[in-house]
């Protein structure tokens, strides 16, 4: 239960403030069921696709493979963007759903933002702490505690045997090591959606904590990556010994991969630590929590704004309301 309080954060179960993260995980609803979690048919990608369809239907246009290099600023106002290929697109409003570090220090030319604001952006803590291991399986894992197939495999399976186990996993991360006995949250989505894998095959998706973005001196994620993956498999094998025999393929995603491939600074899945000093009116920067920025017509709408991370959609909606309030331009 206490695991919900640490997911995606750089905190241990005993750390003050984790009760908030736990409540944060319980604030959504699915099909009218409050604090529910669910599987999306087709994976979480299906959620984004459905949202995209809804947006298009309402008149939004979406272009993929259009990485943004710069946000254009003219006379203190955002006036558009420059794509990586050099194309310039002009707009009345620019709303960034990427995190504040990328938005303000990579996409905006220096000199456009006040010093104390930039100080706040630079201080904003990311500190990714989790990794992901996805496996293609030739069959189903057989757990010692509940042998055979059954309903128990359809939900979330968690390796978090004791509060002390979890806290020790955290202690290693504090000093820059991935947990030798990690907390693992596993799901087998192919049991609820057979379309994700060929018949008889399965997918095991593992959320793993802790995997600190910043490793101890002398260590780096490129050399640690597969060792980290091996350790996850070995840990699962203690509970489901057949796992090693059924792995067809393994994908390891480290916090560094999350940063490189998915644009999440320091691999934080919530675009910034969900700690009290970075929530509510302090998210992302004190004085700039209302989706606006020091640059006119530039807005923030991602997880780094109130109310924060998770697949909730709330920051996007709240930001849109603020943009409309400002007259849209």
């Amino acid at each position: 239960m206490s695991a919900s309080g640490i997911i995606g954060t750089f905190l241990g179960v005993r750390s003050p403030g984790t009760a908030y993260v736990l409540l944060h995980h319980y604030m959504g609803e699915i099909d009218g069921a409050f604090r529910a979690w669910g599987f999306a048919r087709g994976g979480t990608g299906a959620i984004s696709n459905a949202i995209a369809d809804a947006a298009r239907e309402a008149g939004a246009e979406i272009r993929t493979q259009a990485p943004i290099a710069k946000i254009l600023i003219k006379n203190g106002r955002a006036s558009g963007v420059v794509l990586a290929n050099g194309d310039e697109i002009y707009a009345d409003v620019v709303s960034s759903s990427v995190d504040p570090r990328l938005t303000y220090t990579r996409m905006i030319e220096p000199g456009n933002l006040p010093d104390d604001f930039l100080e706040g952006v630079n201080r904003y803590k990311f500190r990714g702490s989790s990794g992901k291991v996805n496996m293609a399986l030739d069959g189903l894992p057989n757990f010692k505690c509940m042998p055979g197939a059954g309903a128990h495999l359809r939900g979330a399976m968690s390796i978090s045997p004791s509060v002390e186990y979890m806290e020790k996993a955290y202690d290693e991360a504090k000093y820059g090591h991935w947990s030798s006995h990690p907390y693992i949250d596993m799901v087998i989505p192919t049991l609820t959606d057979t379309s994700l894998a060929p018949p008889g095959k399965h997918i095991l998706s593992c959320f793993v904590q802790y995997a600190p973005y910043k490793l101890a001196p002398g260590l780096d994620w490129d050399t640690e990556k597969e060792k980290f993956g091996d350790n996850v498999v070995n840990t699962i094998a203690e509970y489901a010994p057949n796992i090693k025999d059924i792995i067809l393929h393994r994908q390891v995603v480290t916090p560094l991969d999350l940063e490189r491939e998915w644009g999440l600074s320091e691999g934080n899945i919530f675009q910034g630590e969900l700690s009290l000093e970075q929530l509510f009116f302090l998210r992302p920067v004190a004085g700039w929590a209302q989706f606006r920025s020091p640059i006119k017509n530039l807005y923030m709408c991602g997880s780094a704004t109130h109310p924060g991370g998770g697949i909730m959609g709330a920051p996007g909606r709240l930001a849109a309301l603020e943009i409309l309030k400002d007259g849209g331009a």
Partner: protein, 529 residues
């Protein structure tokens, strides 16, 4: 049964004595009942080895709230403080020492030898703590507001605090709001690069608590301790005669205005009839009736042991059970034949530099690792240590040429995983001596005798439940309107005419007298109604 007394105060700790003084001044006739042979609670000086006297527990005043010192005329009653030139010497394993002088400019010069940038930040940090500490200090004077139905006084207090916060200006206002829930390690990293400086200041945020420097909320503890004491590492003040001199002066002041004090009077029970406190029963069987009872004991001791919980609702009993109150500090007092020679200080003239505080807090991770052990029920093998040698400022504490050393050691968790404190007490002492001797090799040979006080001893001998030196953890969920419990932060309890005045009430930040003074003001108001 004897005649009905006016107000009985359970326990003669510093807050009990401060409350007695203010209640007597307000026209009441308080009677302080102290279990031990002398008053003082955790602010006492005792002889622990023939000819050697030491502040048995607290070795540094909070500092005391200035208005209390003034009102009680403590100086007239014999209290005299010395502030050493050197505030803190922080030792590092590579044989260096970071020296923080009490004078900020002089401190900055010394820090410049480690980092020019940190030298500049040091005064900025002190200035920010001073500004913010002043505002927090104002809130510490307040009785926490009644949240459900604030009265005019509450609204006025909140308005005033709100205005003071606004007057800080945007930058410092956001700092107050942002710093509170932060980790002390993050806070100091915003100002400093030098590791021993970071750790030495962050240590203020973990002292006495079950927090490590990376724990969220440790910055709050630092800020609370900085209210009224903005010196970055915390000021050092030695009362002549040790901490006991503070409470002796307080007792004299209280008696002078009409309070009565009885020692050797242990209370077995607080009598309650129909939901109203009616007096106390002593361990001797003697019963004393009173109009009101004020407890300087901690909330758990008062409401779960001295009061029969049958007088409380199950809901309240559950909440008071959940009040977090397990200590992490052990105290070691040593009689020394000579001063220890610290390797890092030899070239600089040892003696004068040892007059302040000597800290073993070389880096943030060192402190955090010390904390890690305590989470699993072990005491720290490489502990955070704060040393003072009060005999350098007050030679009367030890025979000529000899010294007393007073050591705070952290972490010593109240609940041990293996064994108990009776079997581990000596091992704790050895770990401390071993740690200090890594910095001062001649140290073990100078020890004549020692007194080791574990959290268990703090509970059994000195009456601190769970061995918690602050009568309960200082944390956002046990602070201000929630100290000790939400709805019961105004010094009252569910038992009518039973009040709390100890460190388990707001502000509860150590040896300041704040809780006693605030409680007396509130109690006088309600008793007059």
């Amino acid at each position: 049964m004897s005649e009905t007394r006016d107000v009985i105060i359970v326990g003669g700790g510093h807050n009990g004595l401060v409350a007695a003084f203010y209640l007597a001044k307000a026209g009441f006739k308080p009677l302080v009942l102290e279990r031990r042979a002398h008053v003082g609670g955790a602010a006492i000086t005792e002889e622990f080895h023939p000819g050697f006297r030491c502040s048995t527990l607290a070795h540094n005043a909070g500092p005391l709230r200035a208005d209390i010192v003034r009102d009680m005329q403590l100086e007239k009653h014999g209290l005299k403080f010395t502030t050493p030139d050197v505030n803190t010497v922080s030792l590092t394993p590579d044989g260096r020492a970071l020296i923080l002088y009490s004078d900020t400019k002089k401190a900055a010069q010394e820090i410049a030898q480690w980092s020019q940038k940190d030298a500049a930040s040091y005064s900025d940090f002190g200035a920010a703590l001073g500004k913010i500490g002043k505002v927090i200090g104002e809130a510490l004077l307040l009785t926490p507001p009644n949240i459900d139905s604030p009265d005019r006084g509450d609204l006025w207090g909140m308005l005033k605090t709100g205005r003071s916060i606004r007057r800080l200006g945007k930058k410092d206002m956001y700092r107050v709001l942002r710093w509170g829930p932060m980790a002390a390690a993050d806070l100091v990293a915003e100002f400093f690069d030098t590791e021993p400086l970071r750790a030495t200041i962050a240590a203020r945020g973990i002292f006495g608590t079950f927090l490590g420097p990376w724990s969220a909320g440790s910055a709050l503890v630092l800020m609370l301790r900085a209210a009224g004491d903005p010196s970055p590492a915390g000021s050092v003040q030695f009362p002549a005669g040790g901490a006991g001199a503070i409470t002796q002066a307080m007792a004299a002041a209280a008696k002078q205005v009409g309070a009565e004090i009885r020692t050797g009077a242990e209370i077995a029970e607080i009598r309650v009839k129909d939901g109203v406190a009616t007096g106390v029963v002593l361990a001797s069987g003697e019963e004393i009736a009173a109009r009101a009872v004020v407890s300087n004991a901690d909330p758990k001791r008062t409401l779960m042991r001295l009061v029969d919980p049958a007088h409380l609702t199950p809901d309240f009993v559950q909440k008071i059970k959940n009040y977090r109150c397990t200590g992490t500090v052990a105290k070691i007092n040593l009689a020394l034949s000579a001063l220890p020679e610290f390797t890092a200080l030899n070239a600089k003239g040892n003696g004068n530099l040892l007059r302040g505080r000597i800290q073993i807090s070389p880096e943030i991770d060192y402190l955090e690792r010390a904390f890690d052990e305590s989470k699993y029920g072990n005491f720290s093998r490489s502990p955070y240590i704060e040393i003072t040698i009060p005999s350098l400022s007050d030679p009367s504490l030890a025979p000529a040429g000899e010294h007393v050393m007073s050591v705070y050691m952290q972490y010593a968790p109240y609940k041990l995983k293996d064994g108990n404190w009776d079997s581990q007490r000596e091992m704790l002492g050895e770990a401390v001596v071993k740690t200090i001797s890594q910095y001062a090799p001649n140290f073990p040979q100078t020890i004549l005798s020692g007194q080791i006080i574990t959290p268990k001893d703090l509970e059994e001998t000195y009456g601190l439940t769970g061995g918690h030196i602050f009568h309960g953890e200082l944390a956002l969920d046990q602070f201000f309107t929630m100290r000790p419990l939400l709805d019961w932060a105004r010094y009252q309890t569910p038992v009518e005419r039973l009040y709390l005045c100890g460190n388990g009430t707001h502000p509860g930040t150590g040896l300041t007298g704040g809780s006693g003074a605030n409680a007396a003001r509130e109690i006088a108001k309600t008793l007059r109604k």
